[in-house]
Symmetry: C2
């Protein structure tokens, strides 16, 4: 019998409780032992069918020696970090959906789990219901990982899909995302500014290369500047706009960023629409593999948490032979993209005839009400900087520059 405590009883926490109870006998069969929900840490007591399990202090959970599995879905790190640390330090396996916790404290928490012979698992922290973490450390483990490229934030992907398919501007798309519950109503900046995607990328990059990458090391740009005009332009070249979280390792140097880019519409990532997530991992042996699915959702996320509970029971701390990273010795910002690329450039009140002299050979995609969309064939980062400088001295405005990213075309 394994007794389970849940910390935080919001959307994910209630989903976990439901799945555990609805599938008790199936899970018993699959793990070889019963999993019983024994305590739920809540902020305030309230009437609920499970209120007999409600507790209001972490001490009550820690003083319960039979609780060997802890699910953390409080979010944030203020309480989650010390609570999870305490649970692991007392030999309890912890499963979390909290990407901020994992991105900021993963190396330390994994180290404690190893020392205490328990497991710290977090499949639900990236991709919600889409299996990414477990296949990445298990199925792709034999060789090295070369590159990660993903659409890791469902909210912004939903908004970009609205802008693309329904011709909405940013404000309207955000409003709809808020109505649908995808975006926070008070402060949606974690999603729209790319911070959420950067946390998830930090987790994947830490896993992939074994040294902690914190979100603060990742250059992060959101989708606030993307307009329906940009979509019109890039459609003309068979492309679309995605908020891409990418990282790779070149000559022992990590590169990476979270940024809106243009990708071919008929690539696998170009086809990830609405609130879905997709991550493409390029490996030494297995070439490109892609994992795709719902990026969030109560049951999808809770499903990932419960799968981790099963894995914790099955494998215990032995998973950390495969799933592990160290504190970085000298954390440095990830290098940005530094190779020559094509760029989509959007200007306002700049004569179309000037674009070629500013950005080099290319194609004028669209000219409309003073706006120009131009595809510059090939610029080095230095050339791009110079072009921006020169443009700053001209009348007119630079509205947007998006790098063209070449993904596999299958």
């Amino acid at each position: 019998m394994a007794k389970v405590a849940i910390l935080g009883f919001g959307t994910v926490g209630t989903g976990v409780a439901e799945i555990l109870m609805q599938n008790a006998s199936l899970l018993h069969k699959r793990t070889g032992q019963a999993m019983e929900l024994a305590a739920i840490l809540v902020r305030t007591m309230r009437p609920h069918p499970l209120q007999h399990l409600f507790v209001q202090s972490m001490e009550e959970i820690l003083s319960h020696p039979q609780i060997t599995l802890v699910v953390e879905c409080m979010g944030g790190t203020t309480a989650a970090y010390p609570y999870v640390k305490e649970a692991l330090s007392t030999g309890r396996s912890v499963v979390t959906s909290n990407k901020e916790l994992v991105a900021c404290h993963g190396a330390e928490l994994i180290q404690i789990a190893k020392e205490q012979g328990c497991a710290f698992l977090f499949e639900a922290s990236v991709g919600g219901g889409t299996p990414i973490i477990t296949p990445m450390f298990q199925s792709l483990c034999p060789g090295g990982i070369d590159k990660i490229a993903g659409i890791l934030n469902g909210t912004t992907n939903f908004m970009l899909t609205c802008m693309e398919q329904m011709d909405m501007d940013f404000a309207k798309a955000l409003h709809l995302a808020q109505q649908k519950g995808y975006a926070e109503t008070v402060d949606p900046s974690d999603d729209v500014d790319g911070k959420d995607a950067a946390r998830k990328l930090a987790i994947l990059a830490s896993m992939a290369w074994g040294s902690e990458v914190s979100p603060s090391q990742i250059s992060t740009c959101g989708i606030g500047q993307v307009t329906p005009f940009d979509f019109q332009c890039v459609h003309k070249m068979g492309h679309t706009i995605k908020l891409l979280a990418w990282a790779d390792k070149m000559d022992d140097q990590l590169r990476g960023a979270v940024e809106p880019v243009i990708v071919q519409k008929n690539s696998q990532l170009g086809q990830v629409n609405d609130a879905y997530n997709g991550v493409q991992i390029s490996t030494q042996y297995a070439a490109d593999v892609l994992f795709y699915g719902q990026g969030a959702g109560k049951y999808a996320t809770a499903n990932a948490v419960v799968a981790d509970l099963v894995l914790a029971l099955q494998a215990g701390s032995s998973v950390h032979r495969l799933l592990s990273w160290e504190k970085a010795v000298k954390p440095q910002p990830l290098k940005p993209w530094d190779e020559p690329s094509a760029y989509y450039v959007h200007t306002k009140d700049v004569p179309a005839s000037m674009l070629k002299s500013l950005f080099g050979e290319g194609e004028l995609l669209l000219e409309q009400d003073g706006h120009c969309g131009y595809l510059a064939d090939c610029l080095t980062p230095e050339q791009l900087d110079k072009a921006k400088e020169r443009l700053a001295n001209e009348p007119g405005e630079l509205m947007q520059i998006l790098r063209k990213v070449h993904l596999e075309q299958n």
Copy 2:
């Protein structure tokens, strides 16, 4: 120290040997023990850098008590079945890339592994280098699986891509696939007739619903009748043609088939091109997830084999709490699709004006040199049979009927 024997030293076998040797220290670190290649079963001795490990009889391997891991990549079942059975019966874990072996004898071999406390693993048998089996039984384990829909054969998918993108007919596409090493030169029927896909579907369906589905229970149709004209027609409705391996469970009744169908071009599976594979799994809790990657290839497949070796060392027979199915009590053919659907109909020398009276309301997509492509809006299976019967009594020919399958549009 775990000693490994490889049975069969073709493409996959040599790839496994290379990965084991090139990554010895990484794998040691990740599994907690060294894996050492100790024997390779070959048909004929030949000069080779590893010839000191070559043996020619299974007895030599079985008499070696330190060999606890066996990799089977001989293919077929004549020798593979008794050898794998013997290895498992003596408590050795077996990893295989052999889909025929798993599809036809999986239930029995898993049962032996359970009894002997070892593992029988086969990630490489479906999807080559794409992780499907392990994420399916681990990450999606908490709830039930509703539906499987996949492009499981890279050869036919490559051929369909050639027909679609380069306007080749079946014979030319086959020839190119043979030149590229995707299709067998002597007898390519396993691929082109859908048999290979049916074996892989049999494995996934057995896993998903816990009762053995053998390939012989699956109605299987290949791509021999697909023509470039068909692609021209379905493009007009934003669709493409894919060889789909699908199964679902409705009211305790399994349905499924391997058949060419039309799917929306901008769906995830519609975008799986060339020799790639993609499998979409619909689950109770995690909604639709999709796994996508190379369907074959020496290192991709060998990578999956080595990942299974790591899992066998890590989890041993405990994986079979999650990965397991029983012999079917009364094996019955999977039911075909039985709901009303839209159908693409291709006729020759049938007056276009007759199509509506035969197949009901619909749209004439293309008329060319006596060929007609027609999209029938909605037919029940009975209506479709009647229409076929009536057409058989008319002059002209029915060239092709393809069901329109509605996949998620993300």
